[in-house]
Symmetry: C2
Subunit: 203 residues, 2 copies
DNA sequence: CGCATAGTTGACTACGCTCAACCCTGGTGG
DNA sequence: CCACCAGGGTTGAGCGTAGTCAACTATGCG
């Protein structure tokens, strides 16, 4: 949980931050609202959605504990998407003006923030790369490979598989079939909410 | 062309930058190389590719003049993808150490850089949102709407349509059919490399 | 003029989506 | 303790649409 620990923050910023608890289903901010706060998730999970043309709602991403939220708010005056708590969650809010001035004053903080944002770009790049894999079972396998990340070959999900499916750009049915196929072919084995990958080669 | 103009840069950074010319097809850097330089495109266009499992090569994105390249190099020791010049191009290279120390010293520069990176995140988000639109002609139409951006309803392409197709995640054939359908249905009209959109409503 | 490449169009295939039924689990209340 | 219910997950059948392969045209360049 790679947060900026509270006591390492500059005084004036520390005084400005706002802690907030949300229950499942509650909205942190809404698309179109004036953007005055930057967030970091302490516990829980958020779903970022966006209503596009012809009132279809798309899920842009899920943000887990430790991730930053609404980095665009730093340089924009409105939120361009809506954040909904998927489960009970706790977040830290940084008023944009306070944060910006702190970033000017404390190069360490600025560099840390930059690194966080860059990492977020990479996460998007990975997701886009996955979308280029058309066949379901291959995309799913590669997704799992990214998740295990050289640690153990086991990945455990703490969210419903249907959310994994939307994250992958599939319907729950397709994901289910893909996992079944991967298991049948011996690439993975499942037990409960955990999946172990047998061939975790390739980056 | 929103570059950091050379004479507004701090002295030591200005001395460190490296200008480089590449001809079409030349590689700026390669996946796996040690990452020591951050780039900004002055003129031209680059294709970022990545070889993934089973030697399939995917195109992550195209980067145009004015865009930044390899922002991940700032906080990583190797490049995670390969950049190839699509056309003859000119780039500015900033050695990572020089740039990082300049960012610490000059808050304006740091804030500017952060804004650039955040904008890049938003670009990825848009692209991911587009990928959630399954039917080709709808995705293409929405893509065009993002491009026109409230200016005139005309967008002119300076790159082959097959590259637009890969950017959209389609084959050239599918893009061609989608454009033909949109024109047939009266949503757009084409003439040469320009497309005018008649119904540019919706965000 | 000839060649290479991009774009278009057609026919067929393949794979993910949709809709539907069914199973299984966990939680609730009688 | 069991009956019931709701939701997630699985499986099946059929459909729709993008991919694939191929042929053809158009354009630009040597």
């Amino acid at each position: 949980m790679n947060l900026i620990t509270l006591d390492s923050l500059p005084q004036n910023l520390r005084r400005a931050i706002v802690l907030q608890e949300l229950i499942a289903g509650q909205r942190l901010f809404q698309q179109g609202d004036t953007a005055s706060t930057f967030f970091m998730i302490e516990t829980g999970r958020f779903r970022m959605i966006r209503n596009t043309i012809e009132d279809t709602i798309v899920t842009l991403q899920f943000a887990e504990a430790g991730e930053i939220l609404a980095e665009a708010a730093l340089f924009s005056d409105i939120y361009y998407c809506t954040a909904i708590a998927e489960v009970d969650s706790r977040i830290i809010g940084y008023p944009v003006e306070s944060l910006l001035s702190a970033l000017r004053e404390y190069p360490d903080l600025a560099e840390y923030m930059m690194a966080r944002i860059v990492r977020k770009i990479q996460a998007f790049q990975v997701r886009l790369e996955l979308r280029n894999i058309r066949t379901a079972h291959k995309r799913v396998l590669q997704y799992l490979r990214y998740l295990v990340e050289a640690s153990e070959n086991v990945v455990t999900f703490n969210q419903p598989m249907k959310d994994i499916a939307t994250d992958l750009g599939f319907t729950p049915e397709t994901l289910s079939r893909a996992l079944a196929r991967l298991e049948r072919e011996g690439a993975i084995t499942r037990s409960g909410r955990s999946i172990t990958i047998h061939d975790s080669s390739a980056a």
